[in-house]
Every structure is written in C-alpha cells, then in structure tokens.
C-alpha cells in the first residue's frame, strides 16, 4: 500500500492521531500534522476520481501502469507433478510461449487467471496483483491429493483433492479469483490474518472471487447462486461457502458435517488465535462481511461488480483502511466510500448501510 503514496506518513498516522497532533501546542508538530492532513484529503479526492475514471481516461492520463510496455497479463503455470518442491516444478505454459496443453487443471488456472486479471484491469485499471504488472505464477498438481489451494505471498498453489470429498481445487474460477485477491490485498490494506481483520481479509477474497465468476459467466445478482467452490466439494448439494446464506453451503455432509459460518454478528464465533483455531476463525466469521456484501449487492441490483464491487474495491485500496481493521471499521468506511462515490443518501450508500445492518454489524 505504502509504495504508491506520496508520503509514507499517510500509512502510519491514523486520522485521530493527526487531529490530536494538530491540537498540539508545538507549532512544528501541528504544522506537520496539518500538512499531512491536507495531503491526505487531496490524495483521497484523487483516488475517488481514479476509481470512477474509465479505463480509457486512465490510459489517456497514463495512469494504468508504471510500466507502460507491460500492461498485458504475464502468467506462468507450473506442474508440481504431485511433489511439494517448487524448484522441481515444470513450466507448463506461459504468456510468451503458449503451447496447447491437455491438462484440465492447467486449462482451469489459465482461464481463471485470465478472468481474474481481466476483471481487475477492465473495471479498475489495475495492472495485476501489485498494479505494477506482476507476473502471476500458478502451481498445479501440488502434493499427492492435497485438498486445498493457497497463496503463499509469491504464488497460487492448487492441489488435486482427495478425489472423494474434494476434487481439484482448480475446478472453480471463484477459488482462483479468491487466491489472486489475497495477493491484491497484500499489496493494499494488507489486513492482518487473524480475528476480525483476518475474517475481513478472507471475505474480500470471497467477494472478489464470486464477482470474478459472476462477471465471467455474465450473471447478475439475482441469477447467481452466490456459492464459492461448488465444483470442488463433490456432490450436487454442496459448496464450500455461500455468501447469500452463510452456514448453508453444506449441511449434513457425511464427512464435513455442517457449514459452520455465521451470517450475523450475534453469531460471531470466538475461536483461539492459533493454527488449529483458524487464526480466530478467519474462514468462519468471514460469513458475516460476506453476507453484508451480498445484501448490499442484491439491494443495488444488476451486476454486482458495477457498483457494490466498485465500493468494495474502493475500501480495499483506501489508505484509511487500517491493517487491523474490525468489522465495524469496514462498515463505517464502506458507507463513507459509497457516499463519496455515489453521494451521501444515494441508493448505493443506503444499500451499504442496509447490508451491514442485516449482518448485525
């Protein structure tokens, strides 16, 4: 986040501290705080303009990339051949050399990676994960029957699933979008990965994952089933998560039991901040902000990415979003951002308020 700001001070001093510093008796400190506050406001206004600007406007102003020659997607796909050593993985496909590949997992990640890159580029003029044209690296067939997908800070990694409960984690485009968005988040607010901030981190990935899928298959808020990972979890009645009705993605599953996600804050699950406690339930309590987004998008109507998605992207890339943000912080900021984008009292701002209200945040 900080590398794109004019002053690193924006990232460090929160508004309440600036206010305090401006009231300080020390003229030098008060002056610095006032100038920082002024720059911060100017920067915020610029950002609102850039968020609303079309790709064409951004291109004319030269704002789409710091590396104009590298605005196209750069991607590499590696086959781990069911091993866990990235150094021995074999390059299967890249954007410069595109041999016809037969691997289904390979085809899936190329399609999902392209759809994710296109989504961020076409809607927000974002040039890849870091907005600087980062090469997207995807590793498939990782480990023997690994039932997971993850982002390790450098790459997206997918297992083939155990074949019984889970199939390949490349099967759903929303999972690919989810993992890529973890990378985007690391380059923006970089929300901490535990407790409420961690659940928000997970939720942003789910929200953008589902929008990437919806846009790819051109589904509006009414047509979408709002399910994440509906192919990965074997069985027609099951998916990994539901944004529309958290806690119902799988029920009475013979192996997994019931989906543990809450939809509302009164059902928030206090869990240990440890590996076995899912870092305070980051994949559990993400159901709450997921539901807030669903209600917001549904009430606005149309395609989720056109307005609700724009607001959520505005929040994710807003310098006011602290890395340890709570649900309430994101609620407040999303209402402010919606007001800045569409007007205070607008249908969109009201929908955001209603969304968080339904989630009881």
């Amino acid at each position: 986040m900080c590398n794109k700001h004019f002053s690193p001070v924006h990232c460090i001093i929160p508004p309440y501290m600036l206010k305090k510093l401006m009231e300080s008796g020390n003229e030098k400190v008060a002056g610095m705080a006032a100038r920082t506050n002024f720059r911060s406001h100017r920067f915020r206004n610029d950002r609102i303009y850039f968020q609303k600007a079309s790709v064409m406007e951004k291109a004319i102003l030269g704002l789409t990339s710091t590396q104009p020659g590298k605005t196209g997607m750069q991607m590499e796909v590696y086959d781990c051949k069911q091993k866990t050593d990235f150094a021995t993985a074999v390059l299967l496909w890249d954007t410069k050399n595109t041999p016809k590949i037969t691997s289904l997992a390979g085809k899936n990640v190329i399609r999902g990676g392209k759809a994710s890159w296109d989504f961020y580029w076409q809607l927000f003029g974002r040039n890849s994960i870091d907005n600087q044209g980062l090469l997207i690296k995807q590793y498939i067939h990782y480990d023997k029957g690994m039932d997971n997908a993850y982002w390790d800070g450098r790459r997206m990694v997918y297992g083939d699933g155990d074949g019984t409960v889970f199939t390949s984690f490349t099967s759903d485009i929303d999972i690919i979008g989810h993992e890529l968005t973890h990378g985007v988040m690391e380059n923006e607010a970089n929300l901490e990965y535990d407790n409420q901030a961690g659940a928000l981190n997970e939720s942003f990935s789910d929200v953008f994952g589902i929008m990437i899928k919806q846009k790819y298959i051109k589904q509006d808020v009414r047509q979408s089933n709002w399910l994440i990972g509906e192919k990965v979890l074997v069985g027609p009645k099951y998916a990994l998560r539901s944004l529309k009705a958290p806690g119902t993605a799988y029920l009475n599953h013979p192996e997994l039991g019931d989906d543990p996600q809450p939809a509302t804050m009164d059902k928030f699950q206090k869990m240990p901040d440890s590996e076995s406690g899912d870092w305070g339930g980051v994949h559990i309590n993400s159901g709450i902000p997921n539901f807030a987004f669903y209600v917001t998008a549904f009430n606005i109507g149309g395609y989720s990415w056109e307005k609700a998605g724009r607001i959520w992207y505005g929040v994710m890339t807003d310098s006011r979003l602290a890395s340890n943000a709570s649900f309430e912080d994101v609620r407040n900021l999303s209402i402010i951002v919606a007001g800045e984008m569409f007007g205070t009292g607008s249908l969109e701002a009201k929908a955001v308020t209603q969304g968080w209200s339904e989630a009881k945040v």
Binding site: T84, K144, M146, D147, N148, A149, Y150, W151, D152, G153, V165, F169, I175, H178, E179, H182, Y193, D194, N201, S205, G229, L240, R241, E255, L256, G257, D258, P260, S274, E275, S276, D278, W279, G281, H283, I284
Partner: protein
C-alpha cells in the same frame, strides 16, 4: 509409542488426524522433533494448512518437508491415513 499427526487450516478449515504405532526410542523422537519442529509464529500463508504432532498431551508444530529420509515412511503412512474430524 503412539504418534498422532494432525493437519489443520485450509480454504475451509478442516481438521484431519491419523495415528500410528512407532518403534523408536524417546531419545530418537526428541532428536527427530528437534529437526522437524516449526516456529508457529512464522509467516501466515493465506489459506495454508499446518501440521502438528501429538506426543502424549503435547502438540508440537512440525514441518514435514524436514523429515529425514530414515523416518519418511512413518509420515508418508500418517499422511495417507489422515481422516477428517467432522464438525459438530
């Protein structure tokens, strides 16, 4: 002695466990654990999974990539036999 391997975390937080009888001395086990022990305060992988070994009442975070060849068969068996612990 009995050795239990526990895997937690992931895209949906599923806990899996497997147990096996191993014929190694306590000294050998201590040496093995000193090699494969992992710092749980390390970087948090988004949607990552984590392994722990249960010895008696103690859970020890481990990195299975560091298991010496001599003991790899134990962990291959344990990993192949991991079973999901169902949500209540």
């Amino acid at each position: 002695m009995k050795l239990k391997l526990i895997r937690s975390g992931g895209f949906i937080p599923v806990t899996k466990a497997a147990e096996t009888e191993v014929h190694i001395t306590e000294q050998e086990l201590d040496k093995l654990l000193s090699i494969i022990r992992r710092d749980p305060a390390g970087p948090r992988i988004k949607d990552g999974t984590y392994y722990e070994i249960n010895v008696g009442d103690t859970r020890i975070p481990v990195d299975l990539e560091k298991v010496p060849e001599k003991y790899s068969h134990i962990f291959v068996t344990l990993r192949e036999n991991l079973k999901i612990i169902k949500n209540k």
